[in-house]
C-alpha cells in the first residue's frame, strides 16, 4: 500500500510540475526546482537530526529521507499558490504577494495538514515524536509548521526573483533556501519543546 501511495504522489507531483512549466514557463520550472531543493534539505535534516517526526521505511528515497517527503512540499505549496491565485486574482508572477495572498496560502496549508496528517497516521507512514499533542490526529505543531514554511518560502522566492537573473541570484537562492530549511526544523522543534506540544 505504501508503494502505491508513493507512486501516486510522484505522478501527481510530476503533473503539477508540467502544469507550472506549461503555464509559467522557465519561472515555473525554477519555482519547482527551488521547492524540490528546499523540501530535500528540510526533510533530510529532519531525519539526520531526529527532529519532529520519522518515517516508516519506504521504497523511494532521496538521500536519507523518503522521496515523498521531499516532493510533497513542492506539490503542496504549488497547490496553495494556485488556490490563492484562483480566489484572489492575484498572481505570484508579480513577485509582490500581498498580506492577503500570504495569509490565504497559510490558511490553505493548515487545511492541507487536516487532510495529510490523519491519513499518514492511519496508514502508519509518518510517526511524530511520542507525546506529540494532536486533535483529530492533526498535530498542533503541524498547524504552525505547514503555513510558516510556506509563507517564508514564498517571501524568499519573490524577494530573490525580483533581482536580476544570474549566478549571484542562484547562489543567494540556494543559500537562503538551505538556511530556511534548517532553521525551520530547529525553530519548530524548539517551539514544540517549549510549548510541550
Amino acid at each position: 500500500m505504501h508503494l502505491v501511495i508513493e507512486l501516486l504522489t510522484l505522478v501527481f507531483f510530476l503533473a503539477t510540475v508540467a502544469h507550472a512549466v506549461r503555464l509559467r514557463g522557465a519561472s515555473g520550472a525554477g519555482l519547482f526546482g527551488a521547492l524540490l531543493f528546499a523540501g530535500f534539505v528540510r526533510e533530510n535534516f529532519v531525519i539526520l537530526r531526529e527532529a519532529l517526526y520519522g518515517f516508516t521505511p519506504l521504497t523511494l528515497m532521496l538521500g536519507k529521507a523518503p522521496l515523498i517527503a521531499s516532493i510533497i512540499w513542492g506539490y503542496s505549496i504549488y497547490l496553495a499558490v494556485v488556490w490563492v491565485e484562483t480566489m484572489t486574482g492575484e498572481s505570484l508572477e508579480d513577485r509582490r504577494p500581498s498580506g492577503r495572498f500570504l495569509a490565504l496560502a497559510a490558511l490553505f496549508m493548515m487545511a492541507l495538514a487536516g487532510f495529510y496528517e490523519p491519513f499518514l497516521k492511519l496508514i502508519d507512514m509518518a510517526r511524530w515524536q511520542p507525546g506529540t499533542r494532536a486533535t483529530l490526529d492533526v498535530p498542533w505543531i503541524a498547524l504552525i509548521g505547514y503555513p510558516s514554511f510556506t509563507v517564508l518560502f514564498l517571501l524568499l522566492w519573490c524577494r530573490l526573483m525580483r533581482r536580476p537573473p544570474g549566478a549571484a541570484r542562484t547562489a543567494l537562492l540556494l543559500t537562503g533556501l538551505t538556511l530556511l530549511a534548517l532553521l525551520h526544523v530547529v525553530v519548530l522543534q524548539g517551539l514544540k519543546d517549549l510549548l510541550r506540544w
Partner: protein
C-alpha cells in the same frame, strides 16, 4: 499573444488534489475500514470554493 488558459487547465492542480482526497477516502474505507471526515472538511470546502470561482 498567448491564449488565456482554460479554467480546466488553470485548475488542474486542484482537480488533482480533489482526486487525491477521493483516493484517500477510498483507501481509508476499503483498506482500513475507517473514514475520517472532519479534519478534511476545511480543505474540501476551500477546493469547492475555488472550483465555484474558477469555473464561473
Amino acid at each position: 499573444m498567448p491564449s488565456r488558459p482554460t479554467p480546466w487547465l488553470r485548475l488542474l492542480p486542484l482537480l488533482l488534489l480533489a482526486t487525491m482526497v477521493v483516493v484517500g477516502f477510498g483507501i481509508e474505507a476499503v483498506v482500513y475500514d475507517r473514514v475520517t471526515w472532519l479534519p478534511k472538511l476545511p480543505l474540501i470546502a476551500m477546493v469547492a470554493l475555488a472550483f465555484a470561482r474558477g469555473f464561473r
